[in-house]
Symmetry: C2
Subunit: 197 residues, 2 copies
């Protein structure tokens, strides 16, 4: 069979998160039927992004510019630093468009199980950034998982001696959420941090 | 924001069946972290396939060769023609590797609702293939949907005057299937076409 090109393309597409072998085959057929409108533009966009997109030297965001568009935006407040685990979290926060400070991407979280230690993450870089730049507040926006919270506590400890306010995201009932379906921890936090209406 | 390259890549990936905007973003991050192992090979494979893969002039299969690897394989029996709706169905049949004849891809099915008429499909080509080549049997392997069966009946009518055996796929209990979950039509067909054990 001379299907090798198609097999290879299918195998590569099947590696993407959310696609398996069967959906990759569907995607290949979809693409072959739309060569000019999707397939070739996608090939170009992939090559282009691979060549031009890289991590920002300051915050770790992925962008074609370095420093990235966020770090080099004069309209943003460089004194507030939001610490996230991954670029995906940074993008999630950017989508709500209500945070106007800078970011610091850790590139992972501390994990005893996976052997991830502080020096494997951008924690030393974060400490030196806080020491060097005029940072007034660090918002720890790691995930609300055990490892995420451990990482947040560790960073708070490391920043304890420095003249900087350290905060974390609020816990509580998700907007649109039903109490009956919430876990006990979230409900406890929501009750403890109750606010005047 | 200079995120345009990444936005464009995300939008293109989100068009693939099985991916939405959110999974496309995850895929973009996945790719950017694996530039050399996945992203660039995928860009090349896409460009390569777009340039080299096209429909087979004989059967309509998609391949880098024309006539395709199936049509030009001397080990296959060109006298038996399996008629399928789409290349995806051809690939599904090829995966079981038990059919050793040739194919004929219709490129769709008749549909009054969508305004698909016989001349919009490769039905005239099928008739002339049967007239021209030494075809002994045509297996109608359209889907077991209403439109698929209508198309099969229409083709059987068109081939009625010619000296060729026309057959269809067997209906029955899927292997591994439970009777309790089967629809009435399938169960009726399975009972009607019961076979000696």
């Amino acid at each position: 069979m001379a299907q090798s090109e198609l097999d290879r393309l299918t195998q590569l597409l099947a590696k993407l998160p959310g696609l398996g072998p069967r959906s990759a085959r569907r995607a290949v057929l979809y693409l072959l039927k739309r060569k000019d409108s999707v397939m070739l533009p996608l090939a170009l966009a992939l090559g282009d992004a691979a060549a031009r997109v890289g991590p920002c030297v300051q915050c770790g965001n992925l962008d074609t510019r370095d420093p990235c568009a966020i770090c080099s935006d004069p309209g943003r407040d460089g004194a507030i630093l939001c610490v996230v685990e991954d670029v995906a979290d940074l993008w999630a926060l950017e989508r709500i468009a209500s945070f106007k400070g800078h970011y610091h991407v850790l590139g992972g979280i501390l994990s005893a199980l996976d052997g991830v230690r502080p020096d494997d993450l951008k924690i030393p870089e974060l400490v030196s950034r806080v020491e060097r730049e005029r940072i007034t507040e660090v918002i720890l926006a790691t995930n609300a998982t055990v490892d995420g919270q451990t990482t947040a506590h560790y960073i708070a400890d490391r920043l304890a001696g420095l003249d900087v306010k350290v905060s974390g995201l609020a816990h509580g009932v998700p907007v649109g959420g039903e109490l009956d379906y919430l876990d006990d921890g979230t409900l406890t936090a929501a009750l403890k941090d109750r606010r005047p209406v």
